[in-house]
């Protein structure tokens, strides 16, 4: 069975490569065709409440801002870059240097201009803009945690920004490239304009209109600094429209009718099959989701205070069966989610730790912990949709096999997150945030007081390990430490229990070229998307 499953996953993993290969065969040579022009329509299943990047981490905001704005450091994209793979690429910083002690980062700001919108009106980007943005974030932006190791940010001249750290932090570059870290002009912070409603960036497109429930519209920024590998001006596409289609069926109909070119948001494999039948030349781009389901066991509820019980729960769960039957593909969860394939434990090891159920051993552990007859608990399930609930029901049945009765209590996600923060639950099943770095998993789940530390974990050894990995400059050594932390969590913490990361589908119409979805928000590859005519 395991072999069959592995074969199946190998096939699923190979699909994007096959799709790319097929596209390369049918597409004409890139240089032979005029790539510029046309309009791309994307569906995003929510309206942007406002355009202030410091006010919320809402995906609907940041996915829209990405078309018009830049970060100091960007995510490289391309056929050879994986969905969750961070490769730093110059953004508004054209280059940077890191001091030997890892405490000083010096960025050279590129020659770029702001979009020609009052009051900034196309002036040059300066180091002062970068400093003003980061100062505002540190003062009260929702992203301030990403700069928690920063000691000072200065601008010795118009084109240089120096960031000094309190302690080494090797994820700083990735933090600066984080999906919420857009650089704004100084006027955004000195009352020059209202950043809630006005978007002034340096990005490939200029936001020209946003009507809630209708559309967000962009036109090409002629002064964008980006060039492709042949030195051609980016972006290729003249216009982009984002449609906030909130109902899944309406989104499916819009894609089938060709009114949407690129799909963004939830879609399962069954629905994808339906789309394939209706749109035969559809591009079936698949990745492993950047989120995973997790089962939190509150030690405030007596049985879950026992490590043996948590281990027993882990051994009860047939995650591979769940993945195959409920999700039809994806990847087994880990302390670090499988979308971060360079940082999560190797798949074989995750299967060994989390995907090899043993009910006899689980029962023995329960007996050892003083629960030979099992126990009952209230199983709070956040309602993330039909398949997620089926995952919960699968877990419920697995636990019943070892004599543990889970009484499912459905709740909406916002209410569930609030209950999580209050510790007001016995066990809670939820979907984790889309993190792009192992450090985000560690710091949010396991540091005392952290925002996702719903079970109150306070383990000094683990805390020290997490802080240590932040300072390891050598990539291979840091990788080892990241794995060591994950193994430590498995051995000593077992909370929350990672479950499964589903397949994430990013279909596009057949005439769309250069579409490479990435884990970070803001559609970083969109400037290199073009339409085949």
């Amino acid at each position: 069975m395991l072999k069959r499953l592995l074969a199946r996953y190998a096939f699923v993993t190979a699909l994007p490569a096959l799709a790319i290969a097929a596209a390369m065969v049918v597409a004409p040579p890139a240089m032979a065709q005029e790539k510029h022009g046309g309009k791309v329509v994307i569906n995003v299943h929510a309206d942007a409440p406002n355009f202030d990047p410091l006010a919320s981490t809402e995906f609907a905001v940041h996915s829209r801002l990405g078309l018009a704005m830049n970060r100091l450091v960007e995510w490289k994209t391309g056929d050879d870059i994986g969905y969750g793979q961070f490769v730093a690429k110059p953004g508004l910083a054209e280059s940077w240097e890191i001091s030997e002690d890892g405490l000083t980062y010096t960025f050279k700001i590129r020659d770029a201009v702001w979009q020609d919108i009052a009051p900034v009106s196309g002036r040059a980007v300066t180091a002062a803009d970068v400093v003003a943005t980061y100062d505002a974030i540190i003062a009260g932006g929702v992203q301030k945690g990403l700069l928690s190791t920063v000691d000072a940010i200065t601008a010795p001249d118009d084109k240089t920004v120096v960031i000094t750290l309190k302690r080494p932090n090797v994820v700083l570059l990735q933090n600066l490239a984080h999906q919420n870290m857009w650089i704004l002009p100084t006027e955004a912070f000195d009352g020059g304009y209202d950043r809630n409603v006005t978007v002034i960036g340096t990005g490939p497109w200029i936001l020209t209109g946003d009507e809630a429930g209708v559309a967000t519209h962009y036109v090409r920024n002629e002064n964008y600094f980006g060039k492709d590998e042949n030195g051609e001006q980016l972006p290729y596409v003249d216009e982009v429209e984002i449609l906030p289609i909130k109902d899944l069926n309406a989104r499916i109909m819009a894609f089938r009718s060709g009114q949407v070119d690129i799909w963004f948001g939830p879609l399962n494999l069954t629905q994808m099959e339906g789309l394939k039948q209706a749109v035969p030349d559809i591009q079936d781009v698949q990745t492993t989701a950047n989120t995973q389901s997790e089962l939190y066991l509150n030690p405030g509820f007596e049985p879950f205070a026992s490590l043996e019980v948590r281990q027993a729960m882990n051994l009860a769960l047939d995650r591979m069966g769940l993945g195959e039957v409920v999700r039809g593909g994806g990847g087994i969860g880990g302390v670090v989610g499988p979308a971060l394939n360079a940082q999560t434990l190797p798949e074989e090891e995750r299967i060994a730790l989390y995907g090899t159920p043993d009910h006899e051993k689980a029962k023995a552990l329960l007996a050892e912990a003083g629960y030979p007859e099992g126990f009952s608990f209230e199983f709070t399930v956040l309602n993330y949709g039909e398949e997620f609930v089926r995952e919960a029901e699968w877990i419920q049945q697995d636990l019943a096999e070892i004599g543990v009765t889970a009484e499912i209590k459905m709740i909406d996600p916002v209410a569930g997150q609030a209950m999580g923060k209050e510790g007001d639950f016995q066990a809670m099943f939820l979907m984790m945030s889309p993190f792009a770095e192992a450090d985000e998993y560690f710091t949010s789940h396991y540091l005392p007081g952290a925002v996702r530390n719903y079970t109150g974990i306070n383990d000094p050894t683990l805390t020290a390990m997490i802080e240590e990995q932040q300072g390891i400059v050598d990539v291979a050594k840091r990788q080892e430490k990241i794995w060591e932390i994950q193994r430590y969590v498995y051995q000593n913490i077992q909370n929350p229990l990672p479950i499964w990361a589903a397949v994430l589908l990013h279909p596009a119409q057949g005439d769309i070229r250069g579409w490479n979805p990435m884990i970070t928000q803001g559609f970083p590859s969109l400037s290199e998307v073009w339409i085949e005519r």
Partner: protein
């Protein structure tokens, strides 16, 4: 008549106050708030930041204090700002109201025409196969939830290769596109209304056609069409109008789902989003607006009785 209208209006205001209070308290009893939602995707948020944001929005104050602040604003015409967008609530509700009113009015008119028409026909064809078909259809459409009817409409259109154009366009901007975007959700909303009305119209018509004054009219040689439309239908309309009023309330609640399915940026869609995001100020304003519309429609229904039946007009005078 004027005294009657004023009395009903005062009662309506009291109902609105009760609705406002109930919604204000109920939405705060649900766990989770806007701050959780705004920062839900973040891994780097500190508990202190959550507290700061709550304090900035006044959510750290006791509920009664929050209510007094909000209610005094409403009395002075200020519905406050959306916690989610930061924009004035009145502007958001105002923009969303127009598509909802357009949809609801078209739906209720369609529902009334279809329902009364089918009811009259069923009464005329009493005991025939046509009567049975119409009665069966009304039972089916009464039983089908609007959500399912909406999805069925969307899927049915796709099956015949027709797709509603996107994005939404207002009637003033693009009338033809707007017509295509509104007519199908209006139809989905209207069928339930039509079903209820047709059953009531049929039974009211049958009751009236047996009355003495109808026999007298027939004896005077009034034609069949004149008899049914001029005499019977007019007298059967009072219960139908009453039902129309209550159906309008049901239809408004249906817009919450239908607008979402058909991607119409109306009040229902706004309310749905606001509840999901715990945007208290928008929820309160949207529910108040729905309440106000319902009260106005009911008032109109009450007043219309007098127009249809002179006896009622006489009593009220």
């Amino acid at each position: 008549m004027i005294v009657f209208a004023i009395r009903r209006a005062v009662l309506g205001v009291l109902v609105l106050v009760a609705v406002a209070l109930m919604v204000f308290v109920a939405i705060r009893l649900i766990p989770g708030d806007i701050v959780n939602q705004q920062l839900s995707e973040a891994g780097a948020v500190t508990p202190e930041l959550l507290q700061e944001k709550r304090a900035a929005m006044g959510l750290d104050k006791p509920v009664h204090e929050q209510f007094l602040v909000w209610a005094s604003g409403v009395v002075s015409g200020d519905l406050g700002s959306s916690l989610w967008t930061g924009r004035p609530v009145s502007a958001q509700v105002g923009a969303a109201l127009l598509p909802t009113l357009q949809l609801s009015i078209i739906a209720i008119v369609m529902g009334a025409l279809l329902g009364v028409g089918a009811g009259v026909l069923a009464a005329l064809w009493r005991g025939t196969a046509g009567d049975m078909v119409l009665r069966m259809m009304s039972t089916v459409f009464l039983a089908i939830p609007q959500l399912w009817l909406g999805l069925l409409t969307l899927t049915g259109l796709a099956l015949i290769g027709y797709y509603i154009p996107l994005p939404y366009r207002s009637f003033s901007a693009e009338p033809w596109a707007n017509f295509q975007q509104v007519i199908f959700p209006a139809l989905a909303l209207s069928l339930g209304v039509a079903a209820a009305l047709s059953r009531l119209t049929r039974s009211a018509m049958l009751e009236v056609t047996g009355a003495d004054f109808i026999r007298a009219a027939r004896a005077r040689g009034v034609s069949s069409s004149g008899l049914y439309l001029g005499h019977a239908l007019k007298n059967a309309l009072i219960p139908v109008i009453t039902l129309l009023g209550t159906q309008f309330g049901n239809l408004l609640s249906g817009t919450v789902i239908i607008e979402r399915i058909f991607n119409i940026p109306g009040l229902g869609n706004l309310l749905f989003e606001a509840v999901a995001n715990r945007d208290y100020t928008v929820i309160q304003a949207a529910v108040l607006t729905y309440g106000l519309i319902t009260i106005i429609v009911n008032l109109m229904v009450d007043l219309s009785y007098g127009l249809v039946d002179p006896r009622i007009r006489g009593i009220r005078s």
